[in-house]
Point group: C2
Chain length 473, copies 2
């Protein structure tokens, strides 16, 4: 190859060096220049094209750095051997993903709904503005893996005042949501854990434990929560519980059962309780029940809390409190992992809590949710001859249990769906082995339906329940 | 127990029901009320205390809900059996954590530094304000597990224009930092993977693979990166590489080696390449080299990128592009996990990129870093008789290799430390088995030092290097 048939275009806005680079690259890709072939010298090409030699040099350097050609001292530039020819495909590949719209329902009584209308957006915006104005540069630097110390201090104080939790900031790990923290906990505890979970339970937590390779032991519940007898007879070394308001049954675990669990955990070194305190902020009768962790003297409770339920799901900020003996595990197995929460978000939330806005907001929301809760119970009165209500007075959903077994859960869900109301059957949250499921067909099989109300207005609750009443009549 | 010795205080601001609740609870905890003992009826106690019966009822209900007492129909309230007595400890436990200050160094030539002074804070603040003003409510709701579709569309377009990456939004997963995405990748790929890594490599990635239970196979490098011969002879099914600017060596992988790697991956179904494109935005000569993913026609490259390096470490937003065959794995193993990035942060970053601010900022930073880079190379001229420079023209650090083996890496690091300049030895990023380490004592062992310059001003770079020159004289 003695000459290059390049035609440079000085009008199209593309740098000359790039036109040369692109031309030669294409020739190589299309096999017109072969491996080992010598390119014209930079001087010769510059003269041929009537341009500065440095322009050609720049093009050649780019080709060298991308490995298309190589420079051999005193000899010149040669095309590199390239095993297989790939090239950039510049096809337009951006397509819209299908977003599944659930237009078909009038009302969705999801237990995961929350109300955002009363959120103090203007306060949040003001704090955001102040945080960005005051902190500027340092807040853009990487923070502590556990979360910023000021924020952890604030969480400590909040947990102590509102949940009775005793801990030091070093025990707190801030993370981007409960899912992440459960994944992290898998790393902290290490392999081969056997986790007892109530049946029914929070299925998302279960799936995450499964991805951590843990054995799941589903235990029956009685009216006080996880069966302590079954736990004792199991091989489990960890029990995952939600004492404040069990999901999905709504059971509030009484102090006696809590003590039994703490005693069980204290009996062996590697035993722990995971307390998921996901919606403890909302209790409508009497004062809040302290966390299980508050009664733990033996460093056995791993406490998990979140701001995603009490502020907004989009706020990806949760936290866990590790008992001190697990801090060494954390340092060894997970301490090197960077924090998953932006320092800006930490600073905003820190100010929101420390300045008392969070408490005020919780009080406001408790009032709003209590009113919705009471409205729901009122609307459920016509259901009382056929259904028993449980799980009320706390959290954001209740459970309806059919008093007779004439009707199945599936029928209730389907009838509601036909009337365009979405309700959730308890079985979604249950674990059954096939054998049990078969034998249960012959047993009394009580239909149970979850009714979430947080995301609907009182008017909507009344409307949805009156539709449901007719649908189930 | 026939009578309660409660003295109510109407002046202390504590609700009467709470005083009753607290009194009875304490009596139970202190063992003064025994299990099975009957409490006075609500009517009797109300009369005794001269208060409304509903107040006593509220106290009793709270005790019932916490499990201290139970209500027996037609019989009254009884103290529950409680196995072991725990109680809340209200000690003040908030202590300041020790924050290790590295005051002892004048200059830290860390390869992880970045410059934040040129960041367009006012633009960022404005976008934040607009996002919070416009989106309000819906932005506080939980988003798509992979990240919001608008944001993934924007990332797609950006990757296509700037890195030559071909992908669809459905292939993109947004996550809170590279560490998180590598953890997630561990879930997506599943167990029993054998990962080939260059020696030296990015140790954090290695540790995360180890926590996922993966076998790590450390392979030697030549001037083009990972040795393809060693890779072929290994049992590895995954290769982790940084083709744009390998960390820590600074090697830019030429097209030939890239093609060999793609060919290797295409030979077997379960083989994949993980391309960590951590600092590809910064290239100071010619135009950016397209990503390896851009040459991948066989769906073999898992591409990882981050905004933590190019914007700010505190911005916990990274992303990965999964090849289409892995989308099924993602859905099955990890698709249920919630997003770890706040939708507000996604919306802000989306606007920052889509409105062209990101491109302008990168161009500005490229200029600033190029100037620092050139300043460093100038300041390194006096070192040229004893050290070889490599890894220049891209990224945010270079490597100095001692030409003679009179001096060890340890000596260089120590001498620098005595002169209050922190430098980083290559061995920090290397994996050596003991046997190798022993045999290497007899071999030529070239001292290599990383010099990061991004976080220092040009004046500081000159100053630090002149100190280093004297320290190493």
């Amino acid at each position: 190859m003695n000459e290059l048939a390049i035609t440079l275009d000085t009008q199209n806005g593309v740098y000359l060096y790039e036109q040369i680079y692109q031309y030669i690259k294409n020739e190589i890709i299309e096999g017109k220049f072969r491996s080992g072939e010598r390119l014209p010298s930079t001087r010769a090409l510059a003269e041929h094209l009537q341009i500065a030699r440095s322009t050609v040099e720049l093009a050649y350097e780019q080709l060298v750095s991308e490995g298309y050609i190589e420079s051999r001292p005193y000899k010149g530039y040669f095309v590199c051997p390239i095993e297989e020819m790939y090239h950039l495909e510049h096809q337009k590949t951006i397509t819209k993903e299908e977003v599944k719209m659930e237009n078909s329902y009038l009302y969705d009584l999801t237990p995961n709904g929350i109300e955002m209308k009363a959120f103090p957006f203007s306060t949040w915006k003001k704090i955001t503005k102040n945080v960005l104005a005051e902190k500027q540069r340092d807040i853009f630097e990487l923070g502590h893996p556990k979360g910023d110390i000021q924020f952890r201090n604030t969480i400590c104080r909040y947990l102590h005042s509102f949940r009775g939790v005793s801990c030091e900031p070093e025990q707190i790990i801030v993370g981007a949501g409960n899912d992440y923290l459960l994944l992290l906990l898998g790393k902290i505890l290490g392999e081969n854990q056997k986790v007892a979970m109530e049946n029914a339970t929070y299925q998302r937590a279960k799936r995450i434990f499964v991805t951590s390779g843990y054995d799941i032991i589903s235990l029956p519940m009685d009216k006080n929560g996880m069966s302590i007898e079954h736990l004792k007879n199991s091989q489990a070394n960890i029990a995952y519980i939600m004492p404040s308001h069990q999901f999905p049954t709504g059971v509030v675990m009484p102090i006696g059962r809590r003590m039994e669990l703490l005693k069980w955990a204290a009996e062996k070194e590697k035993r722990y309780l995971i307390e998921d305190d996901y919606d403890s902020e909302f209790r409508y009768k009497g004062k809040p029940i302290p966390a299980l962790q508050a009664s733990d003297k033996k460093e056995k409770v791993i406490y998990m809390g979140t701001f995603s339920k009490s502020i907004a799901p989009a706020i990806r900020v949760s936290f866990m409190v590790l008992p001190k003996p697990l801090l060494k595990n954390y340092e060894e197995n997970a301490g090197f992992l960077s924090s998953t929460v932006s320092r800006i978000d930490q600073a905003i939330l820190n100010e929101f809590i420390a300045a008392g806005h969070y408490e005020r907001y919780l009080n406001k929301m408790r009032k709003i949710y209590r009113s919705k809760h009471d409205c729901l119970l009122e609307a459920l009165k016509p259901f009382s001859h056929r259904f028993q209500i449980s799980g009320e007075n706390a959290g954001l959903h209740i459970v309806l249990s059919a008093k007779e077994n004439k009707v199945t859960e599936e029928q209730l869900v389907e009838k509601a769906a036909l009337a365009k109301v979405k309700v959730y059957g308890m079985s979604n949250y249950e674990t059954r082995c096939e054998k049990e499921a078969l034998s249960e067909k012959n047993k009394k099989n009580q239909a149970k339906i979850l009714i979430g109300y947080a995301g609907l207005s009182e008017k909507e609750i009344e409307d949805a329940l009156s539709i449901l009443e007719r649908a189930w009549a």
